[in-house]
Homo-oligomer: 291 residues x 2
DNA sequence: CATGATCACTGACCGTAGTCAGGTATCAAC
DNA sequence: GTTGATACCTGACTACGGTCAGTGATCATG
């Protein structure tokens, strides 16, 4: 119904930059320049790692240094030597600093609450925001090792199981308990759990466990619907193969179900060969790959 | 599945400000400060009306004046006296200016194309952007008179008819032809067509026609699903009543269908009284109101 | 024709963001 | 120990956005 895509995106862009400006202005409301506020706000998120904060905000080293000194002068942070690397320093919030961060968090939360309340359907609205953020974050997706008991890992598995139920005929949810009582199988040195991150949201996962020494099994490959079509499944598979090599495995197996057609196509394209059955329902296809 | 709403909105905000920054940077790529580029870009959109451009961008009068002179020095615009108001001036693009604007448009279109291509499902992605823009633009919605043959009006009616088909049992789309062969009935002095604008997207409409001199009929009240819950239908009804008064009408009628429960509730709350039937299917309810 | 409001322009000023060229201390590698 | 890279700091500089007070021209109003 509406006009051409470029016009719609421009409208979105106008709406969103105005909103961003309003939020920035509320950050400025604490009497501190925006750059300084952003650094302060990032310190707890990156647990004080100066390099990570600077890289995340894309700041010049000189400017960053000045911002830190300004925060120090305000008594909001203290800078301590990094243990283990004398070149680096670690930022730590003082009590007053923590209070300020909490205040900024409240400002941002309030604006978030107002937004959600204004939407006709908050679940749909938040899902739309997730989708857009995921698309905009494409190319910034990072695959990292995670603990299988991490809440983000649990969320991935939950989504994965939901997908199985939806796509596999005869599948019932209670076939796969959560949290996984066998989490330890997916921790080094037995196995691994990998999560694909889009900023701080988990949008994909894959896991690896040992069947017998030297032989691993890849399980639970999942990619969020919003993130499909970016080659993320392939990246996760490459990453899990690398983990397998690091754990000294020389061969991998996996099982899957005919309902997961995209996954099967991917395995066939990336060096996996059909192999004989080694597991039961819901599996209908089995693959193996030598490392 | 994902974490708390505030965190999701913050992630959205981060993703979107980074994207906006990237687009701004590409605007800067033409060797012109962003503020200057934005003004140049807005001139054709507002057909050179300096006051409208300045208000739209929220610029200080002094700063704006300097930006205009910089564009003049570059040979991209000429400033002419406003006919009718000697205090005001009118900006007009030169040939070189029009070329620059076209180039900026291409830059923005390219970035839009890239975005749409990156989404797993472009229709869903664009709909998500429309929803978010509509929610963010809440409070900036404007109701204005429109010509019933305007493409935006046609788009509204199309959406309205689609809604009727979806909500009314037995309704078929071909009952209501488009474009409307009787558009003239909805133009002054016979009637009126009102559109609610969210930026440059039409998100609601209502129309008015004359039944007999002094007696009007309100028809085709529509609000986009994204924009529900903001009291927009009420605003449209108030606006159309005002138009009716301006056209010298003293009484209004309308018909509606039991499937449109929200509309019926609104009429009952805003001074409309049930009246006897004056039209057939798909109507099931009839209301009247004296002005 | 006086009044007050509006529109546009000018000059002076400020804070912030951002760049650049050094400089110092530390680390890892040979 | 030497070398080169890394992490952080400093000082000098610029551009840009934004504010403010004051000016002159024009308009609508009574």
């Amino acid at each position: 119904m509406p006009p051409d895509p470029a016009a719609r995106i421009r409208r979105f862009h106008r709406a969103v930059t105005r909103e961003a400006g309003a939020l920035d202005a509320s950050f400025l409301g604490r009497g501190r320049p925006l750059g300084v506020a952003r650094v302060l706000w990032q310190i707890p998120r990156q647990s004080g790692d100066l390099t990570a904060i600077r890289a995340g905000l894309g700041l010049d080293s000189g400017q960053f240094s000045r911002i830190l000194r300004s925060l120090e002068r305000e008594g909001l942070i203290t800078l301590a030597r990094h243990e283990g690397d004398g070149r680096r320093r670690l930022a730590r919030l003082t009590g007053a600093g923590a209070d300020e961060v909490a205040l900024y968090n409240r400002l941002s939360d309030d604006s978030a609450k107002g937004l959600v309340a204004a939407a006709p359907n908050s679940a749909v609205f938040l899902a739309a925001m997730d989708l857009i953020a995921t698309v905009l974050n494409r190319g910034q997706t990072e695959v990292r090792l995670a603990d299988p008991d991490d809440p983000a890992a649990q969320a991935c598995l939950q989504a994965y199981f939901d997908l199985l139920v939806a796509q596999i005929d005869g599948m019932r949810h209670d076939h796969l308990p959560l949290p996984d009582p066998h989490a330890d199988r997916y921790r080094p040195p037995n196995g691994a759990f990998l999560i694909a991150w889009s900023d701080d949201l988990a949008i994909g996962c894959v896991s690896l466990r040992t069947l017998v020494p030297g032989l691993g099994e890849v399980k639970r490959l999942w990619v969020a619907p919003d993130a499909r079509g970016q080659g993320l499944a392939r990246r996760l598979m490459l990453a899990v193969e690398e983990q397998a090599r690091k754990l000294g495995m020389t061969q991998l197996k996996l099982d899957t179900n005919a309902g997961l057609t995209d996954a099967i196509a991917l395995y066939q394209k990336t060096g996996w060969s059909p192999t004989q059955a080694y597991s039961g329902f819901p599996s209908t296809h089995w693959f193996a790959k030598s490392l």
